[in-house]
Amino acid sequence: MIRLRNVVKTYRQGRAAVPALQGVSLDVAEGAFVSVMGASGSGKSTMLHLIGGLDVPDSGSISVGGQQLGRLSDDELTLFRRRKIGFVFQFFNLLPTLTAEENVALPLLLDGKSLHEARPRVESLLERVGLGARRCHKPDELSGGEMQRVAIARALVVDPLLVLADEPTGNLDSKTGEEILHLMKETAEQARQTVVMVTHDARAAAYGERIVTLKDGRVVGDLCGEEGERP
């Protein structure tokens, strides 16, 4: 599903070069739930952004769902992001002037659908994340946990192949965080989606069946398969 080969990314900070990824190779199977851990600055978010086509590597190759991202034009990349990938971020990234329902519908609206057409799917997702009664609330009328549920519903609205989540529970208390993780894992299982979730929280990471550890822009740990029994 995801294939990274010798991916290198260096940021320029004035005259200094900041190496963010120093040769990362990784394969993720379809339907897997992979957690990425590592200290602050280890390159987790950078890796997620590159997989999601939000940024491009300096060298190395990335393919997602059989598609070499480097070969796509800007327009193709935009469509790929919008149709194939659901993003969930730590700070929810909801538009403050839109209601929960409109925020969830947004990816479909951007893709040319009307709110009317989008509504059945949007309603059923808001039900699914337990927010059926909050669909007309604006983000500032929702709690952090509720905003994150809206963000998850929005990520899932296009029925993406891949869900990319960056610290999805970073701002939530541990019980709410647990509910969000449970929801993500359950919906991914049902829709057979692949999930890559970045977190520095070991309890959150444990929701993945595979835990990849980054350090200084390199993969230094990859816990998968045999060490844990299957549920």
Binding site: M37, A39, H182, K185, D201, A202, R203, A205, A206, Y207, G208, E209, I211, T213, V220, G221, L223, E227, G228, E229, R230, P231
Partner: protein
């Protein structure tokens, strides 16, 4: 020791013989705590001597009498008072890892860092196993003790998380210390 109170608690629901007692114990807390029959019978003998349970022997055809235990009123009072008391001594810091680190101290930092890293992976594997169990548990039908089992898993998760965080913290400190030791040498070159 709380085996005593776990047995008292189970017997407080209804009288049971030794085999049933073990089955009930295993069902409730067996995932976290294993007991053999020897431990159960020694504990029952002690409870009986202290007057907290009483035993009645039920004859069985062609087999030895079945020993049936029930809680006395003194036992109930003792259980109630135990249930209401907080635990005085938190988890002991008696990890094998500390001993290993102790004997490595002062030497080359790399093998220590390798050990710390591997130990972290072990804890992560443990966390993942517990989380899978927790996820599966949440899908099961609601029962009175499901919440308690979930909380017990949470406790184990929080402990393992603390271990992982401590190891990550130790890793950073060990690294910083070894850089400090390496620097004067580099400068003198």
């Amino acid at each position: 020791m709380s085996v005593k109170y776990a047995l008292l608690g189970i017997l407080s629901e209804r009288e049971r013989h030794g085999y049933e007692l073990k089955a009930a114990f295993d069902e409730r807390v067996g995932e976290f705590w294993s007991l053999n029959y020897g431990q159960i019978y020694t504990t029952l003998d002690r409870l009986e001597r202290e007057g907290l349970v009483e035993r009645r022997d039920e004859p069985q055809a062609r087999r030895p009498d079945r020993k049936i235990y029930r809680v006395t009123s003194k036992g109930r009072r003792e259980l109630e008072s135990w249930l209401g008391r907080p635990v005085a001594r938190p988890r002991a810091l008696r990890d094998e890892l500390f001993i290993k680190l102790l004997f490595r101290a002062g030497g080359d930092v790399d093998p220590v860092l390798d050990l710390v890293h591997e130990q972290k992976e072990v804890y992560l594997g443990h966390l993942r196993r517990l989380t899978q169990r927790k996820f599966a548990l949440a899908k099961q039908p609601q029962r009175d003790d499901r919440l308690v089992t979930d909380l017990l898993i949470d406790a184990a998760l929080f402990h393992a998380e603390a271990d992982v965080r401590w190891l990550a913290h130790a890793e950073q400190k060990l690294r910083a210390a070894s850089r400090r030791r390496a620097r004067p040498r580099e400068e003198s070159r």
